[in-house]
Amino acid sequence: MPNATVPKTTTIPAVRARRAGAWRLLARRPLFWVAAAVLGVIVAFALAPAPFAGIFGNGDPRACDLADSSKTSAPGHPFGFDLQGCDIWAGAVYGAQSSLAVGLLATAISLTLAIVLGALAGMGGRVVDWTVSRVTEVFLGFPFLLAAIVVLNTLGVRNVLTVSVVLGVFGWPMMARLMRGSVRSVAKADYVLAARTMGLGTGRIVARYVLPNAVQPVLLLATLTVGAVIVAESTLTYLGIGLSSPAISWGLQIAAGSRVFQTSPHVLVLPSVMLALTVLTIVAIGEELRSVFDPRERR
């Protein structure tokens, strides 16, 4: 192999970056800080909505007066009122909770499934690997949204928990496939062989040596998955089979606003911007993490 003697120039800075500490590299990226700051505000909205919703003096999203239906901004209500006469700012602040909850919960479910199945396929024998890989292929074989529609439609109860479970159960295959590859490459490493030679059991080897070293690419993908799940949740809610009415969510606010978008487009603006901003910041953070931690991305 004559090629082997000539190292590709792209791989050198990557190796050095890892040694210098990828976190330090990340700290020098302005986009990461901007995204983190915006996301921090949205997380604060989700954790303690009341003080933020009350900034303009009317913080109760359920204090609605039909006489105010679809009015534009008024004193104390800078973003105006929605169709039911509720304050749009308060509703949008409270909406952060369900989006982030579904995003995190569904991703946690997918991630757990992906790590378990990926590790099984990567470390298990041929039969286990074959079975898990075929199941993964089946789940990859149909569009995610279509499957979620079919299941959520048949489910009677739709709340943050059920929507998260459905999205989590369909969201794992990509991560599992990545996990399997990652586990396979780590399992070949010398330190795993050394551990095996020392007589450690498979369970211990997997827990102490393989998983910690194999999980990083999957965690990077999981960050992006949070964004994708939030998009999926809002889309399903918009279609009418995600979260439903007593819940406060951006998807519901947009769905209600889209029916009157010709006469009062202002109803749509704030929830749409908040939703897009949340997904954008999460994906931006995910991309920044990936470009720092994943050497192949650095060009």
Partner: protein, 310 residues
């Protein structure tokens, strides 16, 4: 012979995924709560004899596997079943396919043209502000939920500027399809342009490009002929798989823009608990998705001898 074996292997994979997917959908539709017969009746009470008759007619009282094998057998004969009012699913789909296919192909063309252009420009200008800017914009566009993008496009281009129709297909192709197709295309644009960029960069650094430059061939010829041709193989694969996803993604967009396509039908079927209709449409969409991947895999093996050995 090896090529034949590869294609046979792909076909076995296709069959497995096909059975798995149809079974999962069938299982979720029928094992989860929700009574189709009662949904058909609405608020009225049906006499027990009618319920029994409907159950017997549609095998609803049989065990799941009997229903499933019966369904699969019909499917292999090209029969997608009938809905609970007795209309054939395949017939209902037939009138709606042209709209969805037109929409998907229009979106696909827009995505191809924009993706190639953005990918080539960012590969040639890699590392510059232009490259970074294009990356950020395409990723940002793919993050915004399709329905937000769709409604925004309706307000801006349909209502305010009045350039294109807000909804419906009264103005025919291409005017009525441009806006929805653009929205669908923008969603997957980041993936296409990144893929084009990545494979262009790989090829720009390859030895044969250096050789071509050393021979004194002009830059435009190097890029246009040598790099492009080799960069297009992975892109072609992605775009073909993408066509399947465009068909599926049409559900939301057809609803927003009120296009009478398959996606629209699927959505109303879901709302009415028309289980057979939902399964029929989903299956049809998935079969199309799987068939495109199968054809692409086979073409891929024909085009690139390296893949045949894998």
């Amino acid at each position: 012979m090896r090529l034949f074996l590869t294609i046979l292997q792909r076909f076995a994979g296709f069959a497995l995924v096909f059975v798995g997917v149809t079974f999962i959908i069938y299982l979720t539709v029928f094992s989860l709560p929700g009574d189709a017969v009662r949904a058909l009746a609405g608020d009225r009470q049906l006499p027990q004899s009618v319920i029994d008759a409907i159950n017997a007619r549609y095998l609803l009282d049989q065990p799941l596997w009997v229903q499933y094998t019966n369904y699969l057998g019909n499917l292999l004969r090209g029969d997608l079943g009938v809905d609970l009012t007795g209309r054939s699913v395949a017939d209902q789909l037939a009138t709606r396919w042209p709209v969805t296919i037109t929409l998907a192909l229009t979106a696909w063309t827009i995505q191809l043209v924009l993706g190639l252009a953005i990918g080539i420009v960012s590969a040639l200008k890699r590392g510059t502000v232009i490259d970074r800017g294009l990356l950020v914009v395409t990723i940002a566009l793919s993050c915004i939920p399709v329905f937000v993008l769709g409604i925004t496009a309706q307000i801006v281009f349909g209502v305010r500027l009045d350039w294109l129709p807000v909804a419906g297909i009264r103005d025919g192709w291409p005017v009525s399809y441009l806006l929805p197709a653009l929205v669908i295309a923008l969603f997957g644009l980041a993936s296409v342009s990144r893929l084009v960029r990545g494979s262009m960069i790989d090829n720009l650094e390859a030895d044969y490009v250096r050789t071509a430059r050393a021979k004194g061939i002009g830059e435009s010829r190097v890029v246009g002929l040598h790099v492009m041709r080799n960069s297009l193989i992975p892109t072609a694969t992605f775009l073909a798989t993408d066509l399947g996803f465009l068909l599926g993604g049409a559900v939301v967009i057809e609803g927003i823009f009120n296009l009478p396509g398959v996606g629209n039908l699927l959505f109303s079927a879901i709302r009415n608990h028309e289980a057979t209709l939902v399964v029929g449409i989903s299956t049809a969409l998935i079969v199309i998705f799987l068939l495109t991947s199968l054809v692409v895999d086979a073409l891929h093996a024909l085009l690139d001898p390296r893949i045949r050995r894998a």
